[in-house]
């Protein structure tokens, strides 16, 4: 589904991603861990098409198509969804305000008829239940004055509504209380199928108890320096990153 080959990206002449290789197949869950500032959010942003980042090497294919050629909305139309680590506040725009248009633009670009208001309402009611989110939150200005947890829950709600093929969750667990974490994880699991895939970026093994990954990758200084199964997450939880850093720094690049 997603194939990343030797991806390099920089911002303002600072190279952040220094050659990422990764493959995600339909039905899989991948976890990306790694110390602060290692480039996890950068990778997520580049995949979603943030233009501030300069891609200066490598390729990304999504379902065989060159992803890097596409605008952010075209990627969304193909089925990519990024849940932001720091969702932006938009005064005067509510979630319900734009989500129907977003969904219908995705549908129209996939040869489907737009969903009418009645069906859309039914659809979002279902998803609201799934992630236990309140109507009042959805009609407020987006993220304005939302608590950290409310912002994250709203991101997952939008994911549930849009039903993407590939969801990238950037630290969606941070800021969530234990109950909310379970609700969010449960939501992700319910939406999981053989046809879609999830990349979860997280610092905590705890989330991976609920969303069980097929693969765990460690990102360090712009490279994936170690990959393994969910046991790797346990190991990191117990030992921290020092041993990874040492291992990496002692091997010649």
């Amino acid at each position: 589904m997603l194939k990343i080959q030797d991806l390099k990206a920089s911002i303002e002449d600072n190279q952040i991603l220094k050659g990422i290789n990764m493959e995600v197949k339909a039905g899989e869950v991948h976890a990306i861990m790694g110390p602060n500032g290692s480039g996890k959010s950068t990778l997520a942003s580049v995949l979603a098409g943030r233009e501030e980042f300069e891609v200066d090497g490598g390729q990304v294919y999504f379902e065989g198509e060159d992803l890097l050629e596409l605008s952010p909305e075209e990627r969304a139309w193909k089925g990519i969804f990024l849940a932001f680590q720091y969702p932006v506040e938009i005064p005067g725009v509510s979630t319900t305000n734009f989500l129907k248009s977003a969904m219908n633009q995705i549908r129209e670009n996939n040869g489907m008829k737009p969903m009418d208001s009645v069906h859309f309402l039914k659809h979002i009611k279902e998803k609201m239940k799934l992630v236990e989110i309140d109507q009042s939150l959805l009609s407020r200005s987006l993220n304005e004055g939302f608590s950290g947890g409310e912002k994250k829950r709203n991101e997952i709600f939008q994911m549930a509504v849009l039903e993407p093929k590939l969801a990238i969750l950037d630290e969606t667990d941070s800021g969530l209380d234990i109950d909310a974490l379970k609700i969010v994880a449960n939501g992700v699991n319910k939406l999981k199928s053989e046809d879609n895939a999830v990349i979860v970026v997280t610092h905590y093994q705890r989330l991976l108890n609920y969303i069980v990954p097929d693969y765990v990758h460690v990102l360090y200084e712009g490279r994936i320096v170690k990959s393994g199964t969910k046991e790797l997450a346990h190991e990191l939880e117990a030992k921290g990153y020092d041993w990874i850093k040492e291992e990496f720094n002692s091997t010649p690049a």
């Binding site: 979603a48 098409g49 943030r50 233009e51 501030e52 605008s71 952010p72 909305e73 990627r75 969304a76 139309w77 969804f81 990024l82 932001f84 969702p87 932006v88 938009i90 005064p91 005067g92 725009v93 305000n97 734009f98 989500l99 129907k100 248009s101 977003a102 969904m103 633009q105 995705i106 208001s117 939008q158 849009l162």
Partner: protein, 441 residues
């Protein structure tokens, strides 16, 4: 600034015409006319050295052999006018076309309870009372050459009195200019008296379909008596070769509340001088503005809030969207006079520029002579937020629809403050169709 030979020529030309026009709301006040004419002869029209007209120099453009409004009966194309009225059948609609009152399009014939409307040719106690009240209230505060021009050569006008027993129907006053009249000059004066404890929802709507040059120099004088509440809306949607100058003076008495809403949507040269005089205690005033201009259009908002007495509150909030090669100016003066203690005065101006060629000049000017006051001001100019754009696009909104949504939110922050539903929709739908906004709310 002093007047030049061409100024004198213009003035003499106008003087010759005005004596023939016979259309004149200030007929009975020769001293106002003389005073203004003399001032105008001394100052001339402002060039770009004039501090207040630095960004709005139309003096050369308007040195023409102007025509005054032609008397009614002249064939004018009016097919488009009805569709431009606010869809509000409870409202009083008063229509002027090329400066001339149109009985055909106005729906006001018989005086409503607590509502009186007069044209310059009217006489009698009713209009005399309004004009006398105005003459007493009027203060020569703002020495403005265009206001002098207006008062020296008034060639159109109306007077309105709204009493406490008025059932506060919305009053819409339209100023249409249509094609076919070249170099038209309209020096229009509207005098509105809102009596003690009365409530008035007033709108003045300027629309021109005329792509020929015309110069609309309008002056609205609004007197709000004790305890009165006035919402005054100004909507400007004029042609791309027009000069529109709108002077609005609001004289507030104790406990009165005046809210102004200024919407400038198009016009080659638009200038708004809005002067709020908080003449007595416990007045409140909100000044809202939204300018959204494109092409080569130019909007210049000059506002003055003059706190002259203690315990008054004013809040000013103007937003601007400037597209193409448009230019927006905001100059907001707040005066707090020495004895205006316990004043609260706030001001904010926010601008979005959509292109590299769009420009904004914003300047707050606070002059505070009292010590026990709360004042604040702030101004920003920026572009559409990239983070917000990326967020919305990553959810599947096209670039255009994401921008439309963000601009809509920016603009409706002001539009949503309009209390009259019909008017809010009238303005909102114009903005939405320009933005290509197609979201459900």
């Amino acid at each position: 600034m002093t007047s030049t030979d061409t100024d004198i020529n213009l003035i003499e030309n106008l003087a010759a015409k005005v004596s023939r026009s016979g259309f004149n709301i200030l007929n009975d006040f020769p001293q106002i006319r003389d005073e203004s004419l003399n001032a105008l002869k001394v100052t001339g029209l402002p060039g770009n050295k004039h501090e207040e007209y630095k960004y709005f120099n139309v003096s050369r453009k308007i040195k023409r052999d102007y025509n005054f409004p032609l008397p009614a009966g002249e064939a004018v194309e009016t097919g488009w006018i009805r569709s431009r009225l606010v869809d509000d059948n409870k409202g009083i609609h008063i229509v002027f076309i090329n400066g001339i009152y149109s009985k055909e399009f106005s729906n006001f014939d018989t005086p409503a309870e607590g509502f009186e409307f007069f044209l310059p040719e009217d006489s009698g106690q009713g209009i005399k009372y309004i004009l006398d009240t105005y003459a007493a209230e009027r203060q020569n505060i703002n020495k403005d050459p265009y206001l002098d021009l207006n008062r020296a050569f008034p060639n159109a006008g109306y007077a309105i009195r709204i009493g406490k027993d008025f059932d506060s129907k919305p009053v819409y006053i339209y100023h249409f200019v249509n094609s076919g009249v070249q170099d038209l000059l309209i020096n229009h004066t509207g005098i509105v008296l809102v009596e003690k404890d009365a409530k008035a929802d007033l709108s003045e709507i300027f629309i021109s379909e005329n792509e020929d040059h015309h110069f609309h120099n309008h002056n609205t004088e609004l007197i709000t008596r004790n305890g009165a509440l006035v919402n005054y809306h100004l909507i400007q949607e004029t042609g791309h070769d027009s000069v529109n100058i709108q002077n609005t003076n609001i004289y507030q008495s104790a406990n009165s509340r005046a809210n102004t809403y200024t919407f400038s949507l198009s016009g080659k040269d638009l200038r708004n001088n809005l002067n709020i005089l908080l003449n007595e205690e416990d007045c409140e005033s909100h000044l809202y503005g939204l300018y959204f201009i494109s092409n080569n259009d130019h909007i210049d908002n000059h506002t003055t809030v003059d706190h002259r007495k203690p315990h008054c509150y004013s809040n000013e909030y103007y937003k601007g969207i400037i597209d193409d090669k448009g230019m927006g100016t905001f100059n907001g003066k707040i005066y707090v006079r020495p004895n205006a203690q316990k004043t609260n005065a706030f001001q904010s101006n926010k601008n979005l520029v959509l292109t590299d060629t769009a420009t904004v000049n914003t300047k707050p000017q606070l002059e505070i002579w009292a010590d026990d006051v709360k004042c604040s001001h702030g101004a920003t100019t920026g572009q559409i937020d990239e983070e917000q754009m990326f967020y919305l696009r990553s959810r599947g909104l096209s670039e255009e629809s994401a921008a439309a949504l963000l601009l809509h939110a920016f603009a409706f922050d002001i539009i949503d403050r309009v209390e009259l539903e019909h008017l809010r929709k009238y303005i909102g739908s114009k903005i939405n169709s320009r933005l290509g906004y197609q979201f459900s709310d």
